[in-house]
Assembly symmetry: C2
Homo-oligomer: 372 residues x 2
Amino acid sequence: MSDTSPKNTPLPPGSTIGILGGGQLGRMLAVAATQLGFHVHIFSDTPGPAFEVAQSHTVAPYEDEAAIAAFARSVDVVTYEFENIPRATAEAAMAHAPLHPSLKALETSQDRIVEKAFLSGLGIPVAPYAVVTRHTKKSINYDVPGAQPKYPALLKTARFGYDGKGQVRVESEDDLTDAHTQIGLVPSVLEERIAFAREISIIAVGDVDGNVNSYDLAENVHENQILKTSMIPANVPDNLMPMAHVMAERIVRALDYVGTLAVEFFHCPDHPEGPLLVNEIAPRVHNSGHWTLDACLCSQFENHIRAIVGWPLGSTRRHSDALMTNLLGDEITTWADIAADTSSAFHVYGKGEARSARKMGHMTRLSPLTRE
Amino acid sequence: MSDTSPKNTPLPPGSTIGILGGGQLGRMLAVAATQLGFHVHIFSDTPGPAFEVAQSHTVAPYEDEAAIAAFARSVDVVTYEFENIPRATAEAAMAHAPLHPSLKALETSQDRIVEKAFLSGLGIPVAPYAVVTRHTKKSINYDVPGAQPKYPALLKTARFGYDGKGQVRVESEDDLTDAHTQIGLVPSVLEERIAFAREISIIAVGDVDGNVNSYDLAENVHENQILKTSMIPANVPDNLMPMAHVMAERIVRALDYVGTLAVEFFHCPDHPEGPLLVNEIAPRVHNSGHWTLDACLCSQFENHIRAIVGWPLGSTRRHSDALMTNLLGDEITTWADIAADTSSAFHVYGKGEARSARKMGHMTRLSPLTRE
């Protein structure tokens, strides 16, 4: 519907935002959009928690290009809550409405091989890695584009991995062929397992005019490869924030990126490529940015919406310290205790079944600022 | 559905909250309820902005007791966003689900005569007033229950006035009969027009166990009898906050009140009945508490939901100073300028038509705390 508008004309309240994906990220995006007076249309292959707060929804496979086209024609801009969107789907949407973030961002983040080459090409340090180039049960060949990865290492599928799915630990070169068989002989990356001091992430947002704002660094703890907590401020030297911001800004500009972006880092002060190595980028709002809902004037969700509708970015200033804890699986059954914690904001995603390790909600404990 | 539960058993996430009224207050209540994992069913005589974020809705006249009963049977608790709910409607709902705040709160706030007698009975100072007891075109009789009201005064209808509707200024006793004719010869209150220093309000919330929390005082400016701005902190001596809190607490307890309550005051340090006279009470979330959405961990909306589902109250602590400005009528057409104000949170209610003086949205400018 906005095809005829100049690129930078902001959409007025009352316009409709289309979101691919109906999970909790889509839900929090929808609430942010509604606060600003936008309507929301969710497209998902299955009904999800975002449907509860959206005004329209389409249930169809992501591969159904006719359904995608009809969806895109009915909205003013299309965005997404997850990066594993088929290229044909993105293109079918783009034929009828602007897509933000860009197709290039999707394609870069969908494939670890492309992502690492992209980052390295920008001069952004990543964990030493090898690209597995031959895929048989008997032998394995790989290329090493940069520094030689050391063992122990992780073998990760190039595509469609998340929350630790599609990766296996490799102790030595001898185990590599077995590991590759284990993950299905698909294109993969062998990545040095970084002895990091901590994992941190930055949430950045880019607008249509090329401005980039970042939130303060979060220090993240994963359990079973799923994010458990994010602590803000991160316990890191002050110079890491500008360093991370500059990297995020370079990524945003190189991808013609509009919207919220997450960059996950290993903080490894003693590594020869350190102190910050990029682990991965996510072209979307991110679990490690949920604290911005309660500790900032403008959350990562609102800033994503502001960016994709062509509005100026909101403030990323933090008014409180924060500790975000994910509530996984049946941890949500302790809701009465969480409700009684009056220093925490409580977010429940409204999912029906508390399957093991499923993200059911989160809580963010706030405290007065210890340092800006 | 909860009839058989003990009074203080909290409702779990996944329960359904019924809200009478579909305007912006219902909308912000619905968003708060959804964040906590509740479903929302809106009942309104006309579709409104709350429908966009609620999972179910009923459109029927408030007098349709069969529709009210069906609505109440389908939810776990009933609340309301406006106080002018007919008694029969409230009773029809109460036959099938708990109603919060109480019927007594509704009935007290619906009638200025009842409200002033109630407040005076609690020893809470109100503006000197007279109750108009005879209603003919030729003559007027009135009772003065307390201090004698001075002129100029305001003649206000006892029932169904809001935002300055149903009131007229009276310069002297000679004008009283004409004024009464002008407002339709209905039961009325003649109220001394207080030469106040400022108008302030307190938002308090009471839970099922009798706990009462209050937010910091807001200093309110009205234009054409409609709230224009709320400033927090109010520019008042420190002793006013505990004074206002004690009054709110007394009101909450006397009404068996569960939920968010607003008390509006005149601050008049030189008045013989001062320094705080209660202007009116509103048994609901209130426009002068919108700043709590952005300046507090737990907003007036979330605290209302927490109270009515039997959860512990959330924190009313303020992390920032705030200035809330209502956006009335076509002021919303300046949305692009407001969007560019990066120190303000912007809320658009999604109403179709920007009729004159209609509340279309609000903005809250935040700044670091100047004093706690």
